[in-house]
């Protein structure tokens, strides 16, 4: 497995798109953080960029990459290696490369320019987002045979999670505003890794108080260690569950 991971990672690090992605993130974070005197504002802008770009780029790039390497995967499978090993190796190689890109592009500038716990949380949530959306791409890859359909599915997944989900949640909150729905909301939020990352980050910044002002429960729960742990565990589930499902499906898949 390690050999496969090594070759995939080395191959991807030389990939032009990964290099451009890294550079883009790096340029954005350097410019945002050095323009804004208020570091908390800068981190908020970077959070927006992370929430907008990281999911869609991770899932699209990963889906395309998996489909492009489907022949390579078939070739590997003709050798005496387990299907699970091959699939997880593909995933590890790709996610290592994407995580490295994020860590270099956003992590290094933030830690140099604004060393704070908030910067660390931004880095962690960005990495978790990368991991979970790459895992979702893997799931898409094992579910669809056709590349075009797969890419379409990834686009829908990322749009749904970054835009539509919040809209539906807002409608839900609007229609049941009269009821005590704080706890259901906390449950629903767990269904979206992007929201989890956003809240995890917001609670590190000053603006968290706005959340406490309107719904004391949000701040009380999410602001506590248990709340952060809850958010991180949910995000990890967003990595593990798609991975588990894709391995399970891939084992029986007719190639």
């Amino acid at each position: 497995m390690n050999t496969i991971v090594k070759y995939i990672t080395l191959d991807l690090i030389k990939n032009k798109i990964i290099i451009i992605y890294t550079l883009l993130l790096g340029v954005i974070s350097f410019s945002v953080l050095s323009i804004d005197s208020n570091s908390s504002k800068g981190l908020l802008s970077l959070l927006n960029i992370t929430l907008l770009f990281v999911p869609i780029i991770s899932i699209l790039f990963a889906t395309i990459y998996f489909f492009n390497s489907s022949e390579f995967i078939e070739l590997l499978l003709s050798q005496p290696v387990k299907r699970k090993t091959v699939l997880l190796a593909e995933y590890s190689g790709l996610s290592t490369a994407l995580c490295a890109a994020y860590a270099v592009g956003i992590g290094i500038p933030t830690i140099i320019l604004t060393p704070s716990p908030a910067a660390l949380v931004l880095l962690v949530s960005g990495l978790l987002l990368t991991l979970s959306f790459t895992a979702l791409a893997l799931l898409v890859f094992v579910l669809f045979k056709d590349k075009t359909k797969g890419i379409g599915a990834s686009i829908i997944i990322s749009l749904f999670l970054s835009l539509l989900f919040d809209g539906l949640l807002l409608i839900f909150i609007y229609s049941f505003g009269e009821y005590p729905i704080e706890k259901p909301i906390l449950g629903i939020i767990a269904l979206n890794p992007i929201d989890l990352a956003r809240i995890l980050m917001l609670l590190q910044l000053d603006v968290a108080v706005l959340m406490g002002y309107s719904g004391a429960l949000f701040k009380k729960f999410l602001g506590s260690m248990a709340g952060s742990a809850y958010a991180i565990i949910c995000m990890m589930l967003w990595v593990i569950v798609p991975l588990f499902l894709s391995v399970k499906i891939f084992r029986k898949k007719d190639l």
């Binding site: 927006n48 919040d166 949640l169 807002l170 704080e182 909301i185 108080v209 706005l210 002002y213 309107s214």
Partner: protein
């Protein structure tokens, strides 16, 4: 031989003058030294209290005396009783360190209590760890200045206020430093008074709290890190100038909470990093001018019950929400403010934007109606909604607008 009577007369006069203004030294050696000295003193005497620790309480000052502490003698109540009760006019108290009054639910235990007096001056004292610091009760023309009042209370129920005034007039509260009490300065039925250059920090409820107190002036004060900021209620003709409200930051914190305030002026204040800059309810005819609102959660929350307020020449910088309101009706005027979120243009170069600015953002309206929607703060969706609303307004109150937003921020300080 005419000189002898003159001499006698002069001596008599001198003796009289001497007797009228004696200076009495008090040292901590005998028990009840201070009360004893007061009992023996005549009106107009000066008591100089030497350095030391006096375990005395309930000291009753019932004569016109000047009480001066030499190098901050300590009067300690041992956590049981009140310390000094002044019941005579024109007493002067200075240079004392008063500490550890009792706590009681029956009486408000104070370090210095002024009761039905006028012209009393309390100057340059240190009041540490008392339930109430200075308590003025039906007192007039009193001056409380340069005192340091501090305590470390934990909960609202068992604590008192730093400077507490009830049913008084013409007070001057100046240059005091108050921290760690329930309310820093508390006024109830206090009129025509001035609160100038005080520093009120880390009080667990309000830095300044007043009710039914008309025609008062608050200027050059600093209110930092108080549990809920400053609350002013049911008052008329209040003037607030040049105060700084900083970091009153928490779940229910306001820099100023105005409830049923009318005919007042709020000018040249600085509001920085508060959850809410100004919260207004049932207030009318208030001029809010030349203030700076910076990095607050909400700059101003105007409830629909407010009318005829004028917001002019203010700066709004980096607030999460500039203005929020709970209704669609708006009877207040916003004019010539600087809004950092304004993205209009100025083609005729008269330094005033050509298109009106709507300071209430779409998301502020949504969260005002449904507070739980705050969980979606800063999500991509809500950013889009705000932008769409800017192009095609439908939800925001369209009569809450600044028709003449200025292009450059005002130079206020």
């Amino acid at each position: 031989m005419i000189r002898v009577p003159v001499l006698i007369l002069t001596m008599c006069l001198l003796a009289y003058v001497h007797a009228a203004a004696r200076t009495i030294q008090i040292s901590p050696r005998q028990a009840k030294a201070i009360q004893g000295a007061i009992n023996h003193a005549h009106a107009g005497d000066t008591l100089v209290i030497e350095k030391g620790i006096y375990n005395e309480s309930d000291i009753l000052v019932n004569k016109k005396l000047t009480i001066i502490g030499n190098n901050y003698p300590i009067i300690d109540g041992g956590g049981k009783k009140q310390l000094i009760v002044v019941v005579h006019d024109s007493v002067y108290i200075s240079g004392l360190q008063l500490q550890n009054t009792g706590r009681s639910s029956m009486t408000d235990m104070a370090a210095i209590r002024l009761q039905n007096v006028s012209g009393v001056v309390v100057h340059n004292n240190r009041l540490l760890n008392n339930t109430y610091g200075i308590y003025l009760q039906n007192s007039h023309y009193c001056t409380i200045s340069n005192n340091k009042v501090s305590a470390s209370t934990k909960d609202e129920l068992n604590s008192g206020n730093g400077i507490h005034a009830w049913k008084s007039t013409h007070l001057m509260i100046q240059n005091n430093n108050i921290s760690g009490h329930r309310d820093g300065i508390y006024f109830e039925f206090v009129t025509e008074s001035r609160i100038i250059k005080n520093v009120s920090t880390k009080n667990i409820r309000y830095g300044l709290h007043f009710m039914f107190s008309h025609r008062d002036v608050y200027a050059d004060n600093l209110f930092v890190d108080n549990g809920s900021g400053v609350a002013v209620m049911y008052s008329k003709f209040v003037e607030m100038y040049n105060n700084t409200f900083r970091h009153n930051w928490g779940d229910a914190a306001y820099a100023i909470l105005l409830k049923e305030i009318t005919d007042s002026k709020i000018k040249q204040n600085l509001f920085i990093k508060n959850t809410v800059g100004i919260y207004m309810e049932g207030s009318s005819r208030i001029d809010v001018m030349q203030n700076e609102f910076k990095e607050n959660g909400w700059g101003i929350r105007v409830q629909a019950s407010c009318d005829n307020n004028v917001f002019e020449h203010n700066n709004f910088l980096s607030n999460s929400f500039d203005v929020a309101t709970n209704g669609t009706m708006m009877l207040n005027t916003f004019n010539e403010n600087y809004w950092d979120k304004y993205d209009g243009y100025d083609l005729d170069k008269n330094k005033i934007g050509d298109v009106p600015y709507y300071p209430v953002s779409m998301y502020a309206v949504v969260t005002e109606r449904i507070p739980n929607a705050m969980i979606l703060y800063r999500s991509f969706l809500t950013d889009i909604m705000t932008q769409v609303e800017k192009l095609m307004p439908s939800v925001i109150p369209d009569n809450l607008r600044d028709d003449r937003p200025v292009m450059k921020s005002w130079k206020l300080r």
